[in-house]
């Protein structure tokens, strides 16, 4: 009996140990593989001019959620050796084109999983023989075949009409407004995937993203959805009262949040600049917010370039010329084209100069922005470009100072309007190491009666994904009630887990300032002396703070003296009355 009971006990312990260790055995190879760059992604693309443009970048945003080991190579340049070690191969045929003859055999030896988007699949060897591409045709809506009720309108209203062999699984199907038939859009045959669109926006990436989870074997089990609310455009002239109320609501609900702070307000009529040092009340509120659960993010330095109002203007994009900022605001600037130069070298030299100006411009503003906030005791943890406008070069400059970017991304240097979001937290290669916390749900637009409805729609859209980010923002001048409405929408999202930048692994650095997070705490490493010496405004602010404190001290001491004198007078009076009595 005794022996048996010991055996039972032993096997119980063994089971316990195994069950504790099991998840480690199970998880370790994959996570280690991930850390070792095991998911080695190659994207071969066919674009209009062989260069990467917004189409590739939107795919970059999506794919970089799964791995940061992503290489983009044009179909004109790809060679056999580029395929070595690749675990996941992508072909994005954005244009119908004749691929180099090497493609007949290029992918013959490749046995890993492969996904093709758009055109030219017939030229990829025999990999995609299970589909037959026809012409482009109109498709109005898409849905997962197993969740047909979750439909989304297509972004461009078009898809490639395909026929698939038997044994091919249809993951996503498209429907047209004029008939009730459904058409395969995203299909899978063994480890081969095909997406029958040639242009993508966030909606298309939502469907593709879910397929990629399969492809990368990363189906999320916990199914918690990251989300955030960002309090937008907080500049020195913002009324602190509604902000305080908003902070109160978020604190009460225990919701961590972001505050997009602009250090300088520029009056568009007078050009006059206002700083947070001129708004001590607001600064107090912001510091309290930072204390309570808010994370400051730098939203530009002035949120304007030329003479625009802060919050309205574009700081890092010349909207008039639709170019990056290539010249001082005071200088009339006309961008020259390659044809204006005799040689390509001269043109490149010219562009290099412009880029250097832009680098300097962005670097200066970002440095000053971070330093100024730090001097006030506000510690930015991420960046958000005003109006989300930023050139590709700009992202590179930003990546020297920030680990984290919040919002949407401008995807082209030829037009600021080409910008988009992506469903997941990601580190696209063009952000040069920065992690993007995408904004996917928009904001309450003043005067738009359907604003909430639109947010609700976007909320439903993002809920199609397993772990897509539910990110929205809100302007505090609209008052606290509007925020409550937005929160109501967001709180309805199942398993929402609020992003707390302080809990994430983020860093911000510039001259004399190093900010990073560790175990949920914001650690600041500031060279105070050097920082104070770097601009007269910094010590002046502290001097003013000190003087304010002294002046209040004077007022209090004066008040105490007044009270004492009243007491002395009463004392003398009663003493006299006693003596006379």
């Amino acid at each position: 009996m005794r022996k048996k009971s010991r055996n039972t006990k032993n096997s119980f312990i063994l089971i316990l140990v195994i069950s504790i260790l099991f998840p480690f055995f199970f998880n370790t190879p994959e996570s280690r593989a991930e850390k070792n760059g095991y998911s080695n992604v190659l994207v071969i693309y066919t674009s209009s001019d062989g260069e990467i443009d917004e189409h590739q970048r939107i795919f970059d945003m999506l794919i970089s959620h799964f791995t940061t080991d992503v290489k983009f190579i044009s179909s004109n340049e790809v060679e056999k050796k580029d395929l070595s070690g690749v675990t996941h191969l992508f072909y994005y045929g954005q244009f119908p084109d004749r691929l180099p003859s090497t493609f007949h055999t290029l992918l013959n030896d490749y046995t890993g999983s492969i996904l093709a988007i758009g055109h030219n699949t017939k030229q990829l060897g025999t990999h995609f023989d299970f589909i037959d591409q026809k012409n482009e045709f109109e498709i109005n809506q898409m849905a997962f075949t197993d969740k047909k009720e979750k439909r989304l309108n297509t972004s461009y209203g078009k898809a490639i009409n395909i026929e698939v062999d038997k044994g091919t699984e249809i993951l996503v199907e498209g429907t047209r407004a004029d008939d009730s038939a459904s058409y395969p859009i995203l299909v899978k045959n063994q480890n081969h995937y095909y997406y029958a669109v040639d242009r993508m926006a966030i909606r298309e990436t939502i469907f593709l993203g879910e397929a990629l989870h399969q492809m990368f074997g990363k189906k999320h089990m916990d199914a918690s959805r990251p989300g955030y609310i960002r309090i937008e455009d907080v500049h020195p002239m913002v009324n602190p009262e509604p902000l305080k109320e908003i902070a109160g609501i978020l604190k009460e609900k225990n919701i961590p949040y972001m505050i997009a702070v602009i250090p300088v307000y520029t009056n568009p009529e007078t050009g006059e600049e206002h700083f947070f040092s001129d708004s001590p009340e607001l600064l107090k509120v912001l510091k309290q917010m930072q204390e309570d659960g808010g994370s400051v993010i730098l939203h530009g330095y002035t949120h304007q370039h030329k003479l625009n109002e802060t919050g309205e203007g574009f700081e890092f994009w010349d909207v008039e010329k639709n170019t990056p900022i290539y010249a001082p605001a005071s200088k009339e600037f006309v961008l020259k084209h390659e044809r204006d130069f005799e040689t390509r070298e001269k043109y490149e030299e010219y562009m290099k100069e412009l880029e250097n100006f832009e680098n300097e411009y962005i670097h200066k503003k970002v440095k000053r922005g971070i330093q100024e906030l730090v001097n006030y005791g506000l510690y930015p943890l991420a960046f958000e470009a005003p109006h989300y406008t930023m050139s590709q070069n700009g992202y590179k400059v930003l990546s020297e100072s920030f680990s984290t970017y919040v919002g949407q991304l401008q995807l082209s240097d030829s037009d600021w309007k080409i910008m988009d979001s992506t469903p997941y937290i990601t580190s696209p290669s063009f952000l040069k190491g920065m992690q993007l916390l995408p904004e996917t749900m928009g904001f309450v637009e003043e005067g738009n009666p359907n604003a909430l409805q639109e947010i609700q729609q976007k909320s439903e859209m993002i809920q199609i994904t397993d772990n897509g980010v539910a990110g929205a923002f809100y302007h505090p001048y609209l008052g606290a009630d509007g925020l409550k409405d937005v929160l109501k929408v967001m709180e309805k999202i199942p398993n929402l887990s609020w992003i707390d930048l302080k809990e994430m692994d983020v860093w911000v650095k510039t001259e004399n300032v190093d900010i990073y997070t560790k175990n949920g705490e914001v650690i600041t490493d500031v060279k105070q002396g050097a920082l104070l010496l770097s601009s007269i405004d910094f010590p002046l602010y502290h001097l003013k703070e000190f003087i304010d404190m002294v002046i209040w001290g004077i007022a209090i001491l004066g008040g105490l003296a007044v009270i004492s004198f009243i007491m002395f007078t009463v004392h003398l009076h009663s003493r006299k009355a006693k003596m006379e009595g």
């Binding site: 001129d278 007044v562 007078t569």
Partner: protein, 424 residues
């Protein structure tokens, strides 16, 4: 820049306000304490010191008779007392009135100044009178003063019992306090000055200033110092500093009381106060640049006090007034915010409570009417001082620049009702 100036002026103003509050606390404590010294002097004494009272009089026919009457009423052995009235260049009946009393009373002596010693101002008259005196203790009264009977007793014995005191200063009260709003203000002002500045400084620093009347000084010291400075417009302040420099202090003893009359109209007030202010400016600049020669460094407390009051405090107020005025017309982008209003209110309350505390140290002075006067005074009388100091600085600056000789304006007297009601 405007911000910098505003903060500077605020710091200066409040530094002075706190110094005054500190003095007021001293005054309050002294008001509780000085009676002990009074009791000590009440014990009968055998040998009263010989006292000479000097009263310079220049065209004082309106008031001199009352003054002499009060001298006759003094509770002090007449064989130890001489009253020397210096008739200085009077063109009215002053001389004959004095002569009349001098004939009747042995202890009253009439001295008439003669050229070249005539009409040279109060200091010269006092020096002249000093030559005719024989007392060990010299007491000075202005010609409009009516000391209470015990005043000389307290001054003389107060000095006798305190060997470290070179001089002793009594308290003066205003005869015509209820005459009009101006005399009411002056009454409030003089009571506050005495309890705050005189009693307060005495309590904390063992210092006070000779006020020009109702004080006693040792003859030995006067002789050692060479009498009064005839160039000084406020000979009393100047003498105070020299007394300290000689190693003595000046005791403030509120038990010795005199009553004097104050200007009843603005013109006389302005002329008298301009003389005081100019006199004080004279003293500041006489000693400021000879600081190293001062033996008793304690005097610096007073010199700095005057310097701060006349130059910085009024400068500060002037500055903050101007900033306020300019800011009404043009936005100076002042960043001070709401605390400036708090300071304005606290400053005003500090003034009111300090003055009320000083008034409460006298019987029947903290009346509702006086309280209202205090409120009103802040916005009127106090602001007039600002103009006065500017005007005096201008005159004194001009005098120093062109090396003019100071002219001593005698304060005009007013005939008072025969029956005095001293409880103003």
């Amino acid at each position: 820049m405007a911000n910098f100036l505003l903060y500077t002026s605020l710091f200066i103003i409040w530094m002075m306000l706190f110094y005054h509050a500190f003095l007021m606390i001293g005054g309050y404590l002294h008001s509780l304490k000085y009676r002990e010294y009074e009791k000590k002097l009440a014990t009968p004494v055998e040998d009263f010191p010989k006292v000479s009272i000097l009263i310079p009089a220049h065209n004082e026919e309106v008031v001199i008779e009352d003054t002499i009457q009060s001298m006759i009423q003094l509770n002090y052995p007449k064989d130890k007392l001489e009253v020397i009235i210096i008739n200085d260049n009077s063109s009215d009946n002053t001389g004959s009135i004095i002569d009349r009393f001098a004939q009747k009373y042995a202890f009253i002596r009439a001295v008439h100044t003669k050229p070249p010693h005539t009409g040279k101002g109060k200091s010269a008259a006092l020096n002249h009178g000093l030559n005719y005196s024989s007392g060990d203790i010299i007491v000075v009264y202005d010609a409009d003063n009516t000391p209470e009977p015990d005043a000389i007793h307290y001054l003389a014995l107060g000095l006798k019992h305190d060997s470290k005191a070179g001089a002793i200063v009594g308290k003066f009260r205003v005869v015509n306090a209820n005459k009009n709003i101006l005399t009411r203000f002056i009454n409030i002002e003089t009571l506050t000055f005495q309890w705050l500045a005189q009693a307060g400084r005495w309590f904390w620093f063992k210092m006070s200033t000779i006020p020009g009347t109702n004080f006693a000084i040792r003859r030995s010291i006067l002789e050692q110092l060479g009498g009064w400075d005839e160039k000084a417009l406020s000979e009393d302040t100047e003498l105070s500093i020299r007394v300290y420099n000689a190693g003595y202090y000046i005791r403030f003893f509120p038990a010795a009381i005199t009553w004097e009359q104050e200007p009843e109209n603005l013109k006389v007030w302005l002329r008298q106060r301009t003389r005081w202010a100019r006199g004080n400016l004279y003293v500041i600049f006489k000693y400021l640049f000879r600081m190293h020669k001062l033996k008793n460094k304690k005097v610096l407390v007073d010199i700095y006090y005057f310097l701060f009051t006349y130059v910085l405090f009024f400068g500060g107020i002037l500055l903050s007034h101007s900033i306020f005025a300019v800011n009404l017309v043009r936005d100076l982008e002042l960043s001070i915010g709401v605390v400036s209003y708090v300071l304005l209110v606290v400053g005003f309350l500090l003034f009111v409570t300090e003055v009320c505390l000083a008034l409460s140290m006298e019987n029947d002075q903290l009346t509702f009417r006086n309280f209202l006067s205090v409120l009103f005074m802040y916005f009127t009388y106090s602001q007039m001082w600002l103009f006065l100091v500017m005007y005096s600085s201008f005159l004194e600056g001009k005098r120093m620049l062109f090396r003019q000789e100071a002219k001593w304006y005698k304060t005009q007297r007013f005939k008072q009702p025969t029956k005095e009601n001293h409880s103003a």
